[in-house]
Symmetry: C2
Subunit: 137 residues, 2 copies
DNA sequence: TTATAAAATTAGAATTAATCTAAATTGAAA
DNA sequence: TTTCAATTTAGATTAATTCTAATTTTATAA
């Protein structure tokens, strides 16, 4: 809770109760939640919370780089507490979104000379081991 | 035109006039168009075309792997004629979506043992050289 | 060729994530 | 306390996508 306030303050974000709760939720739930998941879960302990606040707060966090938006889904954005380099795998069968290790930072590329790169994402799609296992039976 | 029919047939897709036109459009316009861009452009030469057909056809193409969906945008999906390995860069300022060279296939990763991977995407975001240049003035 | 069935296409309604708006609330500084 | 800006709110709006049920087209068999 305290580290959350420190992190917000460090990023020039006034630590209102909602902002603290939302960032705390993302830190403690590394399940790449959607806006609605965050909203519905926090609403229980905070009935006045509105969806607009969740949207506002998340875009604030994204701008500051505390949180990263995942656009691997077709329709809705998921949010990830921004830590070390990793990729995201989506199982097309069960829909589960998992992390995997990949060294994005060291990825060699060409053709972006004089571009400012602020964000790198690696998205893989396919079928996860669980779904592949189930298919055999 | 002929190669388009061959490509569709090879993928077990019956080459109807609309399917040919849509795939042809994607082959000849490497601008990562949205559904609406494709729809509006093709509608001129084919007034009975409906959006639903464009949606149906594109998801058919995606399933066959002829075309790849780009989910780098927040809200809408773009489509890319599926050729060799490359990454996608989105300028957050002007919105332009460009290709760049990156060896996605050789990317080393861990944690996806026994997963079937069908698709790999590398998305970078930032500010393009053009927008950076304009800022200086 | 004609009849029949299957596949493809259509227009428009429905859905829904995200944004917008204008009012209400909160919090900090004077 | 008073004042002003920042934050939050509910609900309306927007727009990409999906759904639905009817229509048209295409292929096949008689």
């Amino acid at each position: 809770m305290n580290e959350i306030i420190i992190e917000l303050t460090k990023n020039n974000i006034k630590p209102s109760i909602h902002r603290i709760k939302i960032l705390e939720y993302l830190r403690d739930n590394r399940t790449h939640p959607t806006v609605d998941e965050i909203y519905l879960n926090l609403k229980e302990g905070c009935p006045t919370l509105s969806r607009a606040t969740v949207y506002n707060t998340l875009s604030l966090f994204v701008q500051s780089g505390i949180v990263r938006p995942l656009t691997i889904e077709d329709r809705e954005i998921r949010y990830d507490y921004n830590t070390e380099d990793h990729g995201h795998f989506k199982c097309e069968q069960c829909g589960f979104l998992s992390d995997f290790e990949v060294n994005v930072a060291q990825l060699k590329y060409e053709g972006l000379e004089h571009h400012e790169i602020t964000n790198k994402d690696v998205y893989f799609r396919g079928v996860c081991n669980k779904c592949l296992g189930n298919k055999k039976s």
